[in-house]
Subunit: 337 residues, 2 copies
């Protein structure tokens, strides 16, 4: 039985946000036929085709049962973060999404765990909603973007947020979105294939070099997609620290490599050798099985690759599939199994 730390869900429908808030830029959902819908920008541009398993808990559970997934940790789809909008409006939107997600979890409390979404463009409101997610909605964590309106995660503006998350013991999943340089790579799905891994490295490096893990040592943070471009380029990043301390050793005394172990990553690599590389670097206690379900770039076979890696010790697989997720989320396995 497996826990999927990284899966997405959205409500079956929602209000016309352009109409509601009086300005455009939002994503709407348009149901095309039974079980099929389009996510559409409110200027009419097509964003993405989705299916029943993007909004229907029962369809999701059907897939979970097929692939022996006991629990999915669900969060919203990053294009719905809406950090660019007016903070009050995003706050209202986040409350709507979080209430929806809490209802899904309430309906299937042993199958789903929810991570909330926050109006990160306003830290006071973000903290307020994080507190509500935690205290009222029973969510052990939240999902935030890898940058907030192009502000990096080391920005002092976010210190109170990290502090509150640490105090509340709220776990944070950091998901790439608004990828740096994505306008330069419009073709071939490259914002997802090149931009997202870069974006994840950007967020990890910003937090390391910005001293966030030193300032908030109890913070529990997970990065997605196997850490993106970061793990393989750590040699370069670490060397950079020694090569240009004037630029890199501004907030930290120890090299980037010493921060391995201070954050989590998910397992999504689509490559056995890459996963082995991650296991060597991070250890199985810091890697949790994830899928990016239900999107086609995700692992829609739910860990089949890992299951088939016969040389991986059972204990390692148990960490990946179960233990790390509970550890990261601060939840008790015995409450679910």
């Amino acid at each position: 039985m497996k826990v999927d730390i990284h899966a997405h869900i959205l409500p079956e429908t929602w209000q016309d946000l352009k109409q509601k808030f009086g300005y455009g830029g939002f994503i709407q959902i348009k149901h095309i036929e039974k079980g099929k819908a389009h996510m559409i920008r409110d200027d009419g541009r097509f964003f993405r085709a989705i299916e029943q398993n993007c909004w229907d808990p029962e369809a999701i559970i059907e897939d979970m049962d097929r692939d022996n997934v006991r629990i999915k940790v669900l969060c919203t789809v990053p294009v719905l973060f809406n950090y660019w909008a007016k903070a009050e409006d995003t706050y209202e939107w986040c409350r709507f999404l979080n209430d929806h997600l809490a209802e899904v979890v309430e309906q299937y409390p042993l199958r789903f765990i929810g991570l909330g979404t926050l109006p990160m463009q306003n830290i006071d409101l973000a903290i307020k909603e994080m507190e509500r997610c935690n205290a009222l909605l029973g969510m052990p964590g939240v999902e935030i973007g890898s940058n907030i309106n192009d502000k990096n995660l080391d920005d002092p503006e976010f210190y109170p947020f990290w502090e509150a998350a640490q105090d509340l013991n709220v776990s944070i999943l950091i998901h790439p979105w608004e990828m740096m340089g994505e306008k330069s790579i419009p073709k071939y799905f490259l914002p997802w294939l090149v931009g997202m891994p870069a974006e994840t490295s950007r967020s990890i490096c910003s937090m390391i070099f910005g001293g966030i893990f030193d300032k908030f040592p109890k913070l529990k943070v997970m990065f997605t997609h196997g850490g993106g471009a970061f793990p393989f380029t750590l040699g370069r990043i670490n060397h950079g620290f020694y090569a240009r301390p004037d630029l890199c050793a501004v907030h930290i005394q120890n090299p980037p490599r010493s921060y391995i172990g201070k954050f989590y990553i998910d397992s999504i690599t689509h490559d056995e050798e890459a996963l082995r590389y991650l296991l060597d670097m991070f250890g199985s206690k810091k890697i949790a099985f994830g899928t990016d379900y239900p999107f086609p770039l995700g692992d829609l076979e739910h860990g089949k690759m890992i299951e088939n890696m016969e040389d991986l010790p059972l204990a390692v697989k148990e960490d990946l599939f179960i233990n790390t997720a509970f550890e990261f989320l601060g939840l008790k396995k015995s409450d679910y199994f």
Copy 2:
């Protein structure tokens, strides 16, 4: 004895280009004291401090002799590409740089090999100068940027260039510069630590998905810094091909993984495990030892890490240190050793 496929040089001095061409945006060199100079943008902004070994062949050879490097393959410093300038002006600038580099090589023909630089913003002029580099200056290859004024390397505008390079049997070193999204990551040296690896993945993916390796199957291309973010994210990239063929399989029939073996990379990873990962993926016949000398982010120990990897077979080390470079450049080892 080793061959370093990736090292940089610039002339000791050059004309004031702002004055010469009548507009600004160029880099100038200002000598501060004996053996020390600054590269300065012509609006006065400091770019980088350099030392004697950035312009003086004898200082370079001193370092080479210290570290048992027989040959350095030299190319210009990417900030001097000047693709943004008027094409005629860059053409003139490239001729100046290439003449300088050819002189250095002529002076030490058994210690240096030169890779030319080209006015890539005008393909006719780029081809003309590539022909001159090849036929008149005796250069086996050229260095170009990972994008040309934000045009990706799959742009049909570059087809005649690839065709000419293939016909002339000119080898092409692709170096990251004008990194996508670099304005979003101004701190902590991140344009170099996050932007450059992303940029290299951008260039590899653009060439793969754009079908360049199919259209020009004899093209000899090398990417720097161990392939940047590409190798570790190949699982994701390959999965993307199957997940979204509507976006990814536009110009190619076979998955990205099938293109491994169709291009070269250098060895610069600063990490033993990363290099082992590359050797597993690409094989030693496609990886050439490089340093990024003389810059501090480079391997200024000239391959000490590789030398100390005792489990690497001698044949693998010989490929990395010698054979792959000659193969890539189309040169005969016996002419140098």
